[in-house]
Amino acid sequence: MQLVLEKRAERSTVIALISPLIAIGLTIVTMSILFVIIGKNPIAALNVYFITPLTDAYSLQELAVKAAPLVMIAIGLSLCYLANVWNIGAEGQFLVGAVAGSWLAVKTHGTDAGAWVLPAMLLLGAIAGALYALIPAICKVRFGASEILVSLMLVYVADLLLDYLVRGPWRDPAGFNFPTTAEFDPVATVPLLLEGGRLHLGTVIALVIVVAAAVLLGRTIKGFEIRVVGAAPRAARFGGFSSNQLVLLTFAISGALAGLAGIIEVAGPVGHLQPGISPGYGFTAIIVAFLGRLNPVGILIAGLFLALTFIGGEQAQIAMKIPLDITKVFQGILLFYVLACDSLILYRIRLIMPQRKAADGAA
């Protein structure tokens, strides 16, 4: 008996849809084994991770709030990945967007600046994210530098920049020396959708972005260009599409979306700028993008699912003393399985018995 991977003649649409589900299933099995190894009851742990957060309204809102930045960033990343461009530094673009928008909040703090502040902050965040993302893009186009390395290393630059600002120039004088800015003024804060709830305007913005991306990819020539440059570069050049331009464009869009997510996070749920504003949204969004099959609607679902692991992870830490890092392990294993299962879209697994009737080789 033999196990072989056989290339499919045409990609399987069915597998393309269920491959993420297979990946999730395998991840859950692996996690259960891991829970047993660290001496926790896997059923109870999985219950805390995946079921409890879905049982009360507060957690459900929290889910949407956590999913919003993931979805926004992942949408941008999916455009890059479709075009075969590898932006790994969304975390850095997220932080730079947060810093740039916060600058305005800090400058207008305590003044009687009007309602223009928040829109201006969002705009600044997006522009800063885009410009920051253009650094690796330009290095790639002009000098042939690896965009993977450059974008990744810029994450640490952004992290340290934020750290410096909140410990130095922007530190809240009344903040007992904590590394944080003052709490943003109401005009510099993302409004809540419901009084007393958690949902804020950012979740709506994330939904709008999902729809916009779906239209872009499915209906416009730009979206076609993104897909064809990634799928068949030589044919794309024959079609008249320039891959260099697209490197710049997709990096700029994904940087802008990450930056926007960053400033929304700071001006929304967090309320001020401080280190640690992101539990790794920029990296987790990479998983979201792939789990969502680089498809906007898929990304929306995948974003909600990974948000669940963040919330479940926090609750598991509180309820069962499971270390928070398990969440990262979980996400890593998930990415591994997603990529592995993806090969099933283009290949099929076949078991071959040496002495078998040829007749049951029916495909």
Binding site: Q2, V4, E6, K7, A9, E10, R11, R219, T220, I221, K222, F224, R227, V228, A231, A232, R234, A235, A236, R237, F238, G239, G240, R350, I352, P354, R356, K357, A358, A359, G361, A362, A363
Partner: protein, 522 residues
Amino acid sequence: MLDSGSGHARSGTVLLQTIGLTKRYGSFLANDAIDIAIRPQEIHALLGENGAGKSTLVKTIYGLIQPSEGEMLWQGEKMVLAGPHDARARGIGMVFQHFSLFDNLTVAENVALGLDGKESFKAMSARLEQVSQQYGLPLDPKREVWQLSVGERQRIEIVRVLMQNPKFLILDEPTAVLTPQEADQLFVVLERLKSEGRAILYISHKLDEVKRLCDTATILRGGKKISTCLPREETAASLARMMVGTEIKQVKAVAHRQTTVPRLVVNDLSLAPDEPHGVHLKNISLELKGGEILGIAGVAGNGQDEFFAALSGERLSRDPGTIVIDGHAAGHLSITARRKLGAAFVPEERLGHGTAPRMRLSENALLTGHAASGMVHNGFINTAATLATVDRATESFDVRKAKRDPEAASLSGGNLQKFIVGREILRNPVVLVVSQPTWGVDAGAAAVIRQALLDLAAAGAAILVTSQDLDELADIADRIAVMFHGRLSEPLMTADADRETLGLLMGGSALTPKDVPDAVGA
């Protein structure tokens, strides 16, 4: 008749036999209960129209496709293949219709990847050189594949298979892109392999070649086996009739086409290659009027690819005046801008260059149509328009496919070619630059494509055809020029361009053309 059924008495000598081999794609039957028997020391032709199921059958025999029904016997024993490695282990080798080479790897690396053996890279390289010398298929093991011409790429595939010392060799349209000389060399190699006791299954659309080379022929039509016959006892016409079911039309040119204004002018174009082993284009000039077809002959790798890239705008020249399309200086314009001036292009390689293999036909219609065909409004794609193009190409060029809008890669080679040519011709270009228009296309469809080119010229377009097939050029071109080492010869009137003259020019000799009167087409 050598039908496999009658072969039972001699089954001891049968190397490979298929019994009722069937392959279904959904409800579509690509192969329908095919029986075929192949003996050692036999060159067996597999003939059929585009989409008849030839590639499907040989891929099944090579273990790439699992049959839906039926079985295969290898030396009299039942054979079930887990994959190509299983087939190779038994001594079955295959050279594909579409190459399976990695562009960024060297010749030797590509060969190493295709071999299952455990020998060292160095020993393998040495053996590669030795085998390629032995069979007269010269190759430089250190060159990277992307720099090689199609003919050279095919040599790699053949040498790679020969290095496995196969008992049974499958060749899927090996001569489609070879020059007559290259093809002759290949036949010598094949005769030799046959005399060494190997069996060969040979797919080709060139019937003369089949009559010359093959001992037996099996003919497929619409997925079914029509008959097995002795090609030497048939005529090309009778073989074609079995393939198509009807007579094939001869192309006919309008006797005297009206030529109009110059539509495509190239002024002293010189272009350094942008890759280490590319060909330097030197001082190319030509003028092509509306209504005219200019053929470009030449051995592959003499600058045809570079010339195509320069004409299409995939490579730009610094001086706008070097290329003039319909009166507009276009040397500096992108391919999209050139299309907007009314130019259309058909590259030699259909998968990956002419089309994105994993995208649907409608998306591939958009690929070249987005600039100028009303397929895009304000940045939005008009899906109805792209699908309409697919339907029109399907109808006008008889593109056979399993559904309305499949992925490009699922079409048979010849049908994809018909789609690509159709897609461009339907845009009614004023200038058409086309490479190998009928590469891998069956005789009937080739006639349709050639007729379409003639009709397009008659309607006033200027057409530049690059082809390895001198008969094709003789059939449709008004003038023929030869490309050699990046230079283009003075065009000859087709009537003056006999094989000998062209052959000399293709070999780099600058003979004055007028000396020899016979025409090729005669």
